[in-house]
Symmetry: C2
Subunit: 201 residues, 2 copies
DNA sequence: CAGACTGTTGAACAGTCGTTCAAACTCGTG
DNA sequence: CACGAGTTTGAACGACTGTTCAACAGTCTG
């Protein structure tokens, strides 16, 4: 089910996911379940229900396959700061996006586990680090743009500053949500995020 | 040098670290540098300058060795909420501990990388998850005790609530510090931590 | 139908993995 | 010196790793 959902986000245009996409979904599933150490070409192929050789046919190497899988995580992050209701006011859009990042369906164990895997990979290999930094930067830019649109009273660097503060708060919640879940603390963090974004100064 | 420092914390009593300690230090060094996937018995033994078999002589298995190494990270976290100056007032102790967690020497890349590895392992294997949860709980308790002592006006659950909020903020900074370093944002987060701990209510 | 092309399979290769173990080494004690 | 207990070594084992590749299936073109 998680596999289908991920495939749907990745290939919204065509209803039936390509083999390469099915392999990537399998890679993400294995990564979330067993961690980096559990990701072998055979495990991924088996999860996808294909033969070993096929993974190497669609991806140049194991590293390339993992990179492609990690890009997907970044893509899903960008969705978080992409307004859904284009008719809403900028302030409403910003508020909705802030809430979205704290939604229980997003604070889901397997997705947060994936984030953690991406982050830990980024700290170790420069190839993965670039993917992660790119995703973080795009996310930060998207957040800053949202705040900029919702707060005409702020300067552009002022909006960027608030975006950086919100990101720290969100990263803290995302991390803590996996380790020691505490819904009340999450709610208070959401309130702080809104304050960081909306409070005058 | 990092190895020596870690060994010193681990074996403060005797000046020369035991072989088991040297192996654990090596394991942490490899873990921080190459990540979970890079930790093999051979790599650790080579880093420690000993033969392969010796690691298995001192530790029952690879998992047991990693567990022992991870316990050390938790121990170092507890130091963060252990007051150094016992003559200082509780409020001073609390403030000093809050600052300590944001000190550049603590926000060091290799140590944060270690934390990340621990966290990602915790999301995957229950053995590591218990170690991590234990460490987080002890840290949270220590922080709550500090706040409790510094704020006689707060109830005990009130202090625990503030500790949880501070933890989210700190986790956010620790994570963001690795991914997109931003000293100004870190300083603002520290200010928020102090506010969370000291503001009346 | 022949041919070319893409997709797919699974056996095979050379490594590396965790773990075991006989052998060697070190040291304090008899 | 000899003995035994505690350390340390590195070769060896079987299982698993990423990658390659000949073989096969399917489809479309001429």
């Amino acid at each position: 089910m998680a596999t289908q959902a991920a495939a749907a986000t990745a290939e919204a245009s065509s209803s039936v996911p390509s083999t390469a996409d099915r392999i990537l979904d399998a890679a993400l599933a294995v990564l979330a379940r067993d961690g980096v150490a559990g990701v072998s070409m055979r495990a991924v192929a088996s999860e996808a229900g294909v033969a070993v050789g096929l993974a190497n046919y669609h991806f140049e190497s194991k590293t390339a396959m993992i990179c492609a899988a990690l890009e997907r995580i970044g893509d899903r992050d960008i969705d978080l700061v992409t307004p859904r209701d284009i008719d809403a006011t900028p302030a409403e859009q910003l508020r909705e996006c802030l809430h979205r990042a704290f939604d229980p369906s997003f604070l889901d164990a397997s997705y947060l586990s994936l984030r953690l895997q991406l982050w830990s990979l980024a700290g170790v290999d420069s190839v993965y680090a670039e993917i992660n930094q790119g995703a973080q930067r795009r996310y930060l830019d998207g957040l800053a743009a949202l705040i900029d649109a919702a707060r005409p009273d702020l300067s552009q660097p002022g909006a960027a500053r608030r975006a950086a503060d919100v990101l720290i708060e969100q990263n803290g919640v995302w991390l803590t949500a996996i380790l020691v879940p505490d819904q009340a603390a999450i709610d208070r963090a959401l309130a702080r995020c809104e304050a960081l974004a909306f409070d005058p100064l």
